[in-house]
Subunit: 486 residues, 2 copies
Amino acid sequence: MHWLIKTLTRVSKSTTNKSKIDTLLFSRHFTSVAAAETAELGPTKTGEKPRVVVLGSGWAGCRLMKDIDTSIYDVVCVSPRNHMVFTPLLASTCVGTLEFRSVAEHIGRIQPAISTEPGSYLFLANCTALDTQKHQVHCQTVSDGLAKLDPRKFRISYDKLIIASGAEASTFGINGVKEHAIFLREVHDAQEIRRKLLLNLMMSDVPGVSDEEKRRLLHCVVVGGGPTGVEFSGELSDFITRDVHQRYSHVKDYIHVTLIEANEILSSFDDRLRKYATKQLTKSGVRLVRGIVKDVQPQNIVLTDGTTVPYGLLVWSTGVGPSPFVQALDIPKAPGGRIGVDEWLRVPSVPDVFSIGDCCGYLESTGKPTLPALAQVAERQGLYLAKVLNMMGKAGGGYANAAGEMELGKPFVYKHLGSMATVGRYKALVDLRQSKEGKGLSLAGFVSWFIWRSAYFSRLVSWRNKLYVAVNWATTGAFGRDISRL
Amino acid sequence: MHWLIKTLTRVSKSTTNKSKIDTLLFSRHFTSVAAAETAELGPTKTGEKPRVVVLGSGWAGCRLMKDIDTSIYDVVCVSPRNHMVFTPLLASTCVGTLEFRSVAEHIGRIQPAISTEPGSYLFLANCTALDTQKHQVHCQTVSDGLAKLDPRKFRISYDKLIIASGAEASTFGINGVKEHAIFLREVHDAQEIRRKLLLNLMMSDVPGVSDEEKRRLLHCVVVGGGPTGVEFSGELSDFITRDVHQRYSHVKDYIHVTLIEANEILSSFDDRLRKYATKQLTKSGVRLVRGIVKDVQPQNIVLTDGTTVPYGLLVWSTGVGPSPFVQALDIPKAPGGRIGVDEWLRVPSVPDVFSIGDCCGYLESTGKPTLPALAQVAERQGLYLAKVLNMMGKAGGGYANAAGEMELGKPFVYKHLGSMATVGRYKALVDLRQSKEGKGLSLAGFVSWFIWRSAYFSRLVSWRNKLYVAVNWATTGAFGRDISRL
């Protein structure tokens, strides 16, 4: 026998020395305490870099982390997920056109410092409260459904705090939405949609299921006619035409997609593009219904006109509103309940606090309108604020209360670059006008679809994901979508 | 406005005619009944093809379905999953060397008839009972955790029944194994391991976690030194060396892998190869511990010698035993509790019933030893039985009770082609001896690793998965593994 029969007693002895070293290594940042309630990452000391704490890992927070100068700052990110979601391509993952991992980017790939620098961290946690007096945030680790974890509480001191925690899907207080509908904002939402769609396709084929029940199970209802709702409907109808007809031929005639919108679909787009989208969706079999949802029951939704719509899958994408965390913050708000910021994206009532992305809005005193909850707004704000912070840090204003009345340069100005949306295979809309009333190029059709793919493809952060998106697109084209239900 | 404001009332009117057509189309096979309890796929009628019902979608069942002649038979598969798992590569998915979808193959890709032929089906269900008198199986649909489904019961009449439902991970009746350990048999097991491993890596980095707790959270314990346990340990140690050190540098010194085995690791392999594996594993940091587990608690396992081993992740792979379904079957068993079969893989006590794969074993009357629970045994049995059934069908014996005393040709003979296992990056074992005592080639090292990769690569069923496995291997090599926690 060549391998030693080691006992774990010996093993644990051998690690005692290492543990001393580890304690030395880590004591610089972590107050070593037995009671977890007092756990904290304390204020930065002389000789340490100032600490930027970023709440959230969406477009705003990740762009800021990408561009922040880590030779000036330590970066600490607090987020319930360890990746950024490339949201414009999320709808494609629900039916398997793209894979989930192709649209998720680990934050460590966006800002490597969080996994390599001794003073930078990524904590899988939610922020529960702000103590702006003490320059601290209170956090709690995520409790995973599977692992039955007890959440841990801890505090982080910040020199600069960036609230980029995003918004939450609006339900308009409609009963049953949270319980029965699926939103389309995170990778786990897309996973749930894919699992449920494939389950319903299989369940409708089981002996004893009535025709009426088959039709209900396979009725996919999308509420909300914005870009997400439209793109998802388009993907779904393409999935039905190309994959369901071939691979679920027993039940193919029972599956239908209905898109319910209270007003017009794609209301921010050019009139001509809207008409094109409407025509394309209808042509590909999507029923467009104008209506307002009143109540959501486990198998039916009820519209305000009294119509009952049976469904098997219900996807809800009617826009976003402030999250409970933002609602609970005791700081002046912008119209719509967002965190109020000035033209430099500062929260003016408290020092060293900034807010970017869907969770912030201009204070009424700025006289500026609220910006739309779009990826491009969030990303531009992250980029702008990273520059401001870098400038501030270089000028010695990086530490808590050190910036004082420092001049921040030009305020943030948003220039809309245009909007895009796909409406199924080889069809998309590109609206390059700067505002709804403005003039400019607007395109629909194959060229737009090509622009849509190229534009998002070029924006994907890592080469790894670029490669996977390309391979996904190629295999979906060549072999069809994968319908394994994992 | 270009799009019509349709009401769903109109829509449902327009589908009434279609529903009549559907009823006609489907009435051939489904007894249209209101009460689901009496739902069934009734006996095949004159003019219909005989129906082969396959329970399970593992190596045995899928190989049989692949090779069965669908011009002779209709195929109905009953399985709780809609895909086959390429088990030899499953361990690689736990740490992200390969992606989950790369090792899962939809059954419709293996046998397209199940999704296209009107008399062939795939039911996402478990078989609950056999009625061999009536030539029927009783089934119940899977109830998905997410969807809160009421399971549906239905019955399927068979002309030929193939029980290929596999075996279950053995726990040896040890307390706490099912509750706290993760097996490594299905894609969802691998997903759970990956999520838990990444969660533990992040949780150990949170302020206030003591060194002892860090060490526990990051202690990965594998119980069982067979090929699966060894390969998983090897993958894990490679993940630690290549990815954890780089991407989780704060906690990299706390992570360890321990492999616990009661006897020798890789006991079926050549002595020289075992020594090589032991050396390689030890070199890559895997602690090999000889011990027997007595009790599994939420954070500790207790060995029979009294040692307590704290763990953060516990993977259990100590072989398989008969499933509760097989145990409950009222038919003569083979040694070890498997379904007893004769040399033609028939269950001799009942007509038209066969069994293949891990759930079957030779009856003592055959005088043959039980075959090992290996993919190659199962696959060869599936291939053999498909040929027998095709031959039987051509000779007019495909229908229930029609085969009578038909001559089945040569009995099934198993010839072992050899065993393979990887022990980390660029290292593998290949043992081409036909039995433990036999003579033959045995290799260890890079060439073996190359053979290992090539052999499994060439066996992957679809081109799609071949491409994805190749791309996964390439990107893991070039960019490292993906550590997004989805």
